[in-house]
Symmetry: C2
Amino acid sequence: MGMGRPREFDAETALDQAMEVFWRHGYEGATIAQLTEAMGINPPSLYACFGNKEGLLKAALDRYTKLRGAWMEEVVAAPTAREVAERMLMGIADKQTDPANPPGCLLVQGGIACGSGSENVPFELAARRAQNEDQLRDRFIRAKAEGDLKQTSDPAALARYVSAVSVGMGVMASSGADREALRQVATVAVQAVEAQSGRG
Amino acid sequence: MGMGRPREFDAETALDQAMEVFWRHGYEGATIAQLTEAMGINPPSLYACFGNKEGLLKAALDRYTKLRGAWMEEVVAAPTAREVAERMLMGIADKQTDPANPPGCLLVQGGIACGSGSENVPFELAARRAQNEDQLRDRFIRAKAEGDLKQTSDPAALARYVSAVSVGMGVMASSGADREALRQVATVAVQAVEAQSGRG
DNA sequence: CCACATCTGTAGTGAACACTACATATCTGG
DNA sequence: CCAGATATGTAGTGTTCACTACAGATGTGG
């Protein structure tokens, strides 16, 4: 039997465009008309490929976290907890003000609060942010075991802290903060991790 | 000439209800139907009193910042920069997990990203957050002058940092973080301010 | 008690939304 | 070249949205 007419667009390229629309307008603010125009396809192609609007968002989130996964690996590969925090926060300052992307972070811009019918979107985003936090926590647990963090320090709390600062920086970036302003925030924030560093 | 039929609802009480709806669902996620039901009025009353949906949001934001103004005064009245940061962040941990309100902060939940036609809503919220940041900055400038912060410290950067942590905590609260988790973040965050304290 | 002004409830308005029916086009397997 | 399968473009679907026309209700000033 035949295999049907082949798709005329590249799914990943289209996803990149959809990602940008969600990033800039949020899940509820993004319309199917905007998405299809940016993706260069018509609604039936979108629905055949991604199911519905929420399915498209999840696919875009998957792509986003996959693209950032490699960078997160570099972050946790830093030799000390302090340098992990520094790479993370300084890198985020740069990424969130990269003119190649919308400002801020998709995992925040996507939707913090949503209306009835989309209540699970904020949880979906929170779950992805939690993955990054877990990665940091595991790294800080190791740092503590290696004597790189004080024995009194709480790796989970430190990871939550770095994650919170990242989110806060993302919101600032989306409302116009420039790269230098975010780097200043990162510089101050790292000092809290520094205070937890050393054998004690 | 007559003065017309008097309004049958109390504007501030109604605003409190509207504030809660915006807080929980965001600007775009909140519908007029939800708002009028929560406020106990019908659409014509809403439009006669507040102009339109965005006017209602601004009135709710005014009320929100007014209610929090007294608390911010207490915060900046703390004797040292470190204690200012501690009061601020610990207080926010408690407020953002107060079961009497929706979780998080209206100035964040209200809308970080919006669709076409509401682009100025995020800026409106950002402007109100900036007011708090300015208040902190002025307080840290004084702290530096009093020798309570090192001469090498940057009051504006510190204020931006505390503001960023506050926002990050708000997002965490809205996605389910409990009070203890936020207090841990606050405790770590204060250490960065501590590191800037003292005469140097 | 009357003219006037403002509020309130009912019942809608047009527009925009997410989503889809359907006819047509383009592929593969035989 | 044909039959089956999937993709595409056009042109809608019903629903929900913010917002309002209108008639009746309730007040004040003369």
